[in-house]
């Protein structure tokens, strides 16, 4: 799977299938026209992050391209989760944290005082390590995000959007007959796909995934990986992973972090075949970390 040629083919095989199944008019709205020439979706400039006085990110600068999967790898505590959580300002929830530097999404610094964090999080969806389904029905889990964002005008529109969200997350066939049942009765992998469906239903531009498969078994992991590859057509995806093979299988770009610093950032192909830095090579080949 490391071979880029092979990855291309598998993507091509899935694309037509995907469009026929999930592309409903509402979801197509944002992508009907080709993206403009901007090659940068997220521009991280000299970002420093502190938990109290502990510096968790040191001068990280990184540009994340649109409609690609960008993977963050590195040993535990290297700051990759912290970084992904700065992209939708989820770290604001943690007391005693501070940020220096800029994160620009489509040229707008999200840490400027004028940023509306609620609006930002609507544009930048997130999937967490453990499935975070609400203790409600499958239907209500997705309906919630739609309702608070005023995305469901009528009952039929709500149902349509829930259906397309579930289809986008490749969960529809498994749950269509039991939408009213509690979400927590689903298996771990299904719950995680429900969380992805919930994030996709509100039509974000970027989807952040913080180790989305680390709590899942290999089969569920495989389904989610396939899903991520399908989704990158329409979303910019940033994924944190501990699993080297996963990064090489699904990502286009890979960033390697160590002790809060960005060590190397390049195309996944280059990172996994001939990285510039010795440290990257050692980590990827399992010699340290």
């Amino acid at each position: 799977m490391d071979d880029p040629q092979e990855r291309e083919t598998s993507k091509d095989m899935q694309s037509p299938n995907m469009i026929s199944e999930i592309a409903t008019p509402t979801l197509m709205k944002g992508i009907a026209e080709p993206k403009s020439e901007i090659e940068t979706k997220i521009d991280i400039r000299r970002l420093n992050f502190f938990y109290g006085r502990v510096c968790a990110l040191k001068d990280v600068s990184l540009t994340i391209p649109p409609s690609k999967v960008t993977a963050f790898i590195g040993p535990s505590g290297c700051g990759k989760s912290t970084l992904v959580r700065t992209l939708n300002r989820m770290n604001d929830v943690i007391p005693n944290t501070s940020v220096k530097g800029e994160v620009c999404i489509d040229g707008q610094n999200i840490y400027s005082p004028s940023t509306d964090v609620v609006e930002l999080r609507r544009r930048v969806g997130m999937v967490f390590q453990k499935p975070t389904t609400f203790p409600r029905s499958i239907f209500e889990n997705i309906a919630y995000g739609l309702r608070i964002n005023d995305l469901a005008g009528s009952k039929t529109e709500l149902a349509d959007r829930i259906e397309s969200g579930l289809k986008a997350a490749a969960l529809w066939d498994e749950v269509k007959d039991r939408l009213k049942e509690p979400a927590q009765g689903l298996s771990g992998g299904q719950q995680q796909r429900l969380c992805i469906a919930r994030a996709l239903a509100i039509e974000p531009e970027i989807v952040l995934m913080d180790e989305p498969t680390s709590a899942l078994d290999p089969i569920a992991t495989q389904r989610i990986e396939e899903l991520i590859v399908e989704l990158k057509e329409r979303y910019t995806i940033v994924i944190v992973t501990h699993n080297m093979q996963q990064a090489s299988r699904i990502s286009d770009m890979t960033a390697f972090f160590w002790l809060g610093e960005l060590i190397e950032f390049d195309t996944t192909e280059k990172m996994f075949t001939k990285p510039e830095r010795r440290m990257t090579e050692d980590y990827i080949t399992g010699r340290f970390g």
Binding site: P95, V118, R121, F128, Y144, I148, P182, A199, I202
Partner: protein, 302 residues
């Protein structure tokens, strides 16, 4: 017998010994409680009938009843619950979800924990000074209900915070990640998911308030009331009346206290009868709390 076996058999003896001591301690507690309840039932059960429930107090023991005191207890609880619950839950939500962690909130936190341990008579003194003398509420149902509301407020706050703390942080983050505001997280997620815990806390706090005597006597609750407060519903507009909150009152424990302190034996029987009613009220409130907790836990698992 080898040395190791000796040590093992000694440890087993200790284990057995503690088992016996534990059973004895448990039995002492339970047997005493059942003896008290049994005694109360034997003394008073014969007295509890429809007439007892629907009669006003009287100087003749066989004609006396608890109508005005159980109505008083009910109305006091209504005032207490409708003030302490919104105040306590709001304060608990604020402290747990909104307040920044700094020395001010730390001091507030410690003091709320302390307030829960303040003797109830102190609340009575404060209510006498503040509600009766300062705000001129008089010796009314309103003053009594507010006094007990002060008393249970810390318990409600602590229960709310505990219930909120059992909700994993990941649920909050998941809701924020969908573009929720803080209030939406509280209103749509935290409060619904913690309702079981909060309700349990509220009911336990109220069942403590039901039995309180000292603070109500302090503010001047009457022990002999031969009339009921005005009805909350009227035949003319505006149909609802709050006149009853200004009415003087008595409550079950005060009625019991009054009867117990009389010399005639028959009044002791009355007190036992009132005690049975009070215990039934308290126990059924606790039962409701357990039921709510059970049902909520069944639906939500983290």
């Amino acid at each position: 017998m080898s040395a190791v076996q000796k040590i093992i058999s000694r440890r087993k003896r200790q284990d057995f010994l503690f088992n016996i001591v534990g059973i004895a301690c448990t039995l002492i507690g339970i047997v005493t409680l059942f003896a008290l309840l049994g005694d109360l039932v034997i003394d008073g059960l014969a007295r509890v009938d429809w007439e007892f429930m629907t009669s006003f107090p009287s100087r003749f023991a066989e004609r006396a009843g608890i109508l005005s005191s159980w109505v008083g207890t009910l109305l006091i609880m209504l005032v207490t619950a409708s003030t302490a619950v919104p105040l306590g839950v709001a304060a608990g939500v604020y402290l747990e979800e909104y307040a920044r962690r700094n020395w001010v909130t730390n001091i507030i936190e410690i003091n709320i924990a302390n307030l829960a341990g303040v003797p109830s008579i102190i609340y009575g003194l404060m209510a006498l000074g503040l509600l009766v003398y300062q705000f001129h509420l008089g010796q009314s149902i309103l003053a009594g209900g507010l006094t007990l509301a002060f008393l249970i407020l810390p318990i409600v706050i602590v229960a709310t915070r505990e219930a909120l703390r059992t909700i994993p942080q990941s649920i909050r983050e998941a809701a924020y990640a969908l573009g929720s505001t803080k209030w939406q997280v509280v209103r749509h997620h935290l409060l619904p998911y913690s309702t079981g815990g909060i309700m349990t806390g509220i009911i336990i706090a109220l069942s403590r308030a039901v039995g309180e005597t000292a603070p109500l006597i302090t503010i001047g609750a009457l022990t002999f009331i031969a009339f009921l407060p005005p009805l909350p519903v009227q035949t003319e507009a505006p149909f609802v009346s709050l006149e009853w909150v200004n009415s003087p009152f008595s409550v079950l424990p005060i009625q019991m206290f009054n009867w117990v302190s009389r010399p005639e034996r028959e009044f002791l029987t009355n007190a036992a009868g009132a005690g049975i009613v009070l215990i039934v009220v308290t126990l059924s409130m606790n039962a409701v709390a357990i039921l709510i907790r059970y049902r909520m836990r069944k639906n939500i698992k983290w």
